[in-house]
Symmetry: C2
């Protein structure tokens, strides 16, 4: 049995291993600061497909394929694929994985999905149900703009607080045995509603949920901020990251030293026109499965706390005046 | 550790208990064959709300509240709520549960969600992470028609193979200890694509996935069809049920005796104009959490195999000519 810590955290008695991971991206990602850490960069965001939606599925399909190939695991041994995305009815996931003929557990955690999928996959491994599992997610700038805001052809003006959805996918192969970084602890996310209604300022809507998860993680585990080489949120961006540092301080957590945000890391703020940073499920997904996993494997990071953030909303709820709900899951990973 | 059986099934070493469950419904459900088994029937589908979407959340919120109250569990002890729905970005779930202040695991399995949420919740209990968990789902005829087909005001003609989305919600409280029916086995779902593209014939699209899960369940467990008092699919409806019986026979499974479908059970085919039966996440959700749980508790059913079915598609994928992908999860429940 795993050890329940406090209200929301678990310490895995037999920590699942991240055998391998892979990240796919497109043009903007190839021009960004972490380009070298992607496994595959396809400059054309349409990738010879007929629609942005099928292209997104292709980025996800390839990330999973590459990760499984790198791990050297036979497909028949993959007990389940845990994945989700931003598209209505999570269709990027469904169409990406259908030809793998493996069991699916579809999850929805908006941009926190990379951690939610890792947590569910880790739990299925920990309970003994599956031997190997894939955790994955995807997003696509063009399909997301079309669905959540306006079609690209409309040429809408972006606000300074707007973030740029990462095109691509991250996938990780988890296992009960083998060599690689381990998932030692995980903290579940809880919805935090601070009444933010500006759909162009997701960072502000998600920062309180991130800090709530951090407060609970440290309380539950008894760890302190400096026990981690790096604490990394998902896609708060420049506006949200600043807010998170302030909110953390108000809660007695000093995030000024070892904290960063995937949404601030992936693109070049000066050279790339991304306003408040990056976003999308693939933001945390690719930064973790590409950049962070490489740094952990190289020994540069020995222990990190990975905490993607999600905004639970839809164009319909926003138009109906509902607030944007935030959620954040945290995963402790050790070399 | 739980016992992995074959490729897709688990036998829980300490079977999670379904402490209590609750079902909420609206007018059509109150006129149906299983009206007496609902915990709450609110004739007005708008339930004093301003939109169909917020009304759907209200049906879900109340189902969860009633189930937790019936179980007599303090809210603070609920380790997580596992829930999903059909609305874009699963917003029915997010807005239903935000005020419960409990951890959320959002899942998406289309109309198979009741089983997917039970499986994930059972696994989190089995691993020791949470003591109590809620598994839930919802759907709403009006929000679903508006989102997937046409607004009600349009007055679109329904085809003979069309099914009627159940308005309401089912919720179950699962626990590691206590008294109640137990989840002894579960079989994961896998996407089955038979190339069906008619969005008005979901039964045909989902039946092959249901039979695929059945074949694997019986192979993995070594059980036979008659080991169950009842095998029940989610929302294949009259067209899909007939197809399922035929496909099962082709696979050596005789489903002529103890098999039924929630989509054929909930409404009165003669008196209620529902064409090919019922559908929606709340179809399997309410029939299980209301009707079936009552029959199990009364001792009429000692062992059932509950296997909701989902169609993984969106209006976008359908308009782009993609086929409708089917999936089905199965849960063995014993008194």
């Amino acid at each position: 049995m795993d050890q329940r810590l406090g209200v929301r955290t678990v310490a895995f008695s037999n920590p699942p291993v991240i055998l391998e991971s892979a990240a796919t991206g497109s043009k903007k990602e190839s021009e960004g600061k972490l380009a070298a850490d992607f496994d595959l960069l396809v400059p054309d965001p349409l990738w010879e497909e007929k629609s942005w939606e099928t292209a997104e599925s292709k980025f996800l399909k390839h990330a999973i394929s590459i990760a499984v190939e790198k791990a050297g695991i036979e497909w028949s041994k993959i007990g389940c694929i845990v994945s989700g995305d931003l598209m209505n009815q999570c269709t990027s996931t469904a169409f990406a994985i259908k030809d793998f003929h493996r069991p699916l557990l579809g999850v929805y955690g908006a941009c926190s999905t990379m951690a939610e999928s890792m947590i569910v996959a880790a739990n299925f491994i920990s309970s003994g149900w599956v031997e190997y599992a894939v955790a994955a997610t995807s997003s696509h700038f063009c399909s997301a703009e079309k669905q959540f805001r306006t079609p690209l052809e409309y040429g809408g003006q972006r606000t300074p607080t707007a973030q740029w959805t990462v095109t691509g996918s991250g996938a990780a192969v988890l296992s009960a045995i083998g060599t690689g970084p381990k998932i030692t602890h995980a903290t579940l996310g809880k919805i935090v509603d601070r009444g933010v209604t500006d759909a162009n300022n997701m960072g502000a809507a998600m920062a309180p949920a991130f800090v709530d998860t951090m407060v609970n993680h440290f309380k539950d585990t008894g760890r302190s901020v400096l026990d981690y080489d790096l604490i990394v949120s998902g896609d708060l961006g420049f506006v949200g990251r600043e807010l998170a540092v302030r909110l953390a301080a108000e809660n007695g957590l000093d995030f000024s030293v070892n904290y960063d945000d995937c949404g601030c890391m992936i693109f070049d703020r000066v050279k790339q026109d991304v306003h408040a940073g990056a976003s999308g499920c693939a933001c945390a997904g690719t930064v973790f499965c590409g950049h962070l996993m490489k740094r952990i494997r190289r020994g540069e990071l020995k222990r990190i706390l990975f905490a993607p953030t999600g905004a639970l909303m839809s164009p319909t709820t926003c138009m109906q005046g509902e607030s944007i709900l935030g959620i954040s899951y945290a995963v402790s990973i050790e070399q």
